[in-house]
Symmetry: C2
Subunit: 305 residues, 2 copies
């Protein structure tokens, strides 16, 4: 009897072999050190034409602005609602992002979760015509399952909002809320009728979860060093190097978006982090395993494309 292929959507070749070699070698890694971390946007699911989280917040903004026209007086909201990309650029990503986060200030965690769930149940990806939950990468789901079959703990380390990712992490990836490491809003406690309630504040904890912050936050949130890390941008570089430098067998994996037919061929591979170098060049120099979406994957999405 032959064993079932754990990676049916991975084409035969050097990349697939490298993954299978790591899975074999993992048998010698102590159980407590079998830790795998995955970036989310562009690594486990599609991040184009816009981040899924941004689509959610823009839908929230449209809803809120319909109820509260005075929001149009806020420069960040006005720029977004009118599609004024020059104004958006002038205000800067950080101000724009914090203004969007602030839309949900005062919500309890369960209320925020419910809003994300509601949006998710209806929203459709503009290019693929499917729910955003169907824009996950089938080969990566197979890899997660294969790692779990080797008793890896699987965690998400996203630049996106922790609470946003938590709202979908169990359904899409089987990752519990405590396994999500992201950019985290703060909460404050209010006591109403003698009962404590938690409400979202309009600040975030520390830095956005990119670059060095990913490495520090992995330790702070998970307390263990990964021996496997996957990402797709310069913002993941430090995390990939950190995993690769672990003692014993380790692997760092870069997803290269080079499939303009089935997904997107990224024009700039430099990502949001400043760099003059394509991330694939950095990958080669750093010893990361580069996954060509075009060449290494026989299909990209669960629905067959």
């Amino acid at each position: 009897m032959t064993e079932r292929d754990p990676l049916p959507s991975w084409r035969p070749g050097a990349t697939r072999d490298a993954v299978l070699d790591f899975l074999d070698a993992a048998a010698e890694i102590p159980l407590a050190q079998r830790v795998a971390v995955f970036d989310n946007d562009g690594t486990l699911w599609c991040e184009k034409p816009r981040y899924t989280q941004l689509e959610f917040f823009l839908a929230e903004l449209a809803d809120e602005a319909a109820r509260r026209p005075e929001l149009r007086g806020v420069p960040e909201y006005r720029a977004l609602l009118s599609g004024d990309s020059v104004a958006v650029a002038e205000l800067g990503l950080e101000r724009i992002a914090m203004a969007l986060v602030d839309l949900c200030t005062g919500l309890e965690p369960e209320q925020f979760d419910a809003r994300v769930q509601r949006w998710f149940s209806a929203a459709i990806h503009p290019d693929f015509g499917v729910s955003y939950g169907r824009t996950v990468y089938q080969p990566m789901l197979e890899l997660i399952a294969a790692l779990r079959s080797m008793q890896f703990g699987v965690y998400l380390v996203s630049g996106g909002g922790t609470e946003f990712v938590r709202a979908i992490s169990r359904d899409l990836y089987g990752v519990e809320p405590e396994g999500v490491v992201g950019s985290m809003v703060t909460y404050r406690v209010t006591v109403v009728d003698g009962r404590p309630h938690l409400v979202r504040a309009n600040t975030v904890v520390g830095d956005v979860n990119e670059g060095e912050a990913k490495v520090a936050n992995i330790q702070m949130a998970l307390g263990r060093r990964p021996v496997f890390a996957a990402g797709n941008s310069h913002g993941d570089a430090m995390m990939l190097d950190y995993a690769l430098a672990a003692e014993g067998p380790s692997t760092a994996m870069l997803i290269d978006h080079d499939d303009g037919e089935r997904e997107y061929a990224y024009e700039s591979k430099a990502g949001s982090f400043e760099s003059t170098e394509p991330v694939t060049v950095l990958a080669e120099r750093s010893g990361w395993t580069v996954v060509s979406m075009r060449d290494d994957w026989s299909r990209i999405f669960p629905d067959g494309r």
Copy 2:
């Protein structure tokens, strides 16, 4: 065939009945909401005559001071090393605590873990003559196992240092590092020979994990609301109220240290949080289940006492 008693160290009575009733009722709680949180010091293990973590840091200080006599020039260290309790009080808990945390600045997580492990393997509790790992409360280990048999996720929410508790949480309680919520040091990344290293910085994230901070940190770290919480002091009150106010079956449990024979009868039950009221009085008013260590537990420690 009768089922095995899940709580053999709990004496028959109203407290035990309340615990068993909650375990029965838990069957109707959705799986994802079966979350139980436990304070550690004084709730799962002994916290007298001094916090275990403090004993560790004082041993570290003695070691370091032997190697680096100049540490005696630091007021906080001089006061501690000379046992000058007046000076310690004047400097204040926060300065003393931060000075002790600072002893480990620059260590990598694995190095700090190794130091805690080494200390743990040799240190002996001054009153009970056993390893600190044997000062856990046997009835609480049974409760944790009973909750897990009902598919609860079990987490630690400690005022102590997250990394200190993580060093012992798997062995003592079967809690993985990511399940420990405590007072967290920050890390910074240094790159040596092209490889990222994480080193402890001398600051902590936000507030010490007591009171309202416990509730906010539960959400930030775990992303779920507990329906069961156990504690033993005013610093746990907000967390207990938060769990008890959850929808559906919920329980808040207060451990009352009233056993001067087998453990300690606390003179002040007000804990470290300011309060003029014994925490047991607050418990009655709040609807928490009060566990009398003297009356409700047939034994306290695993070794039989």
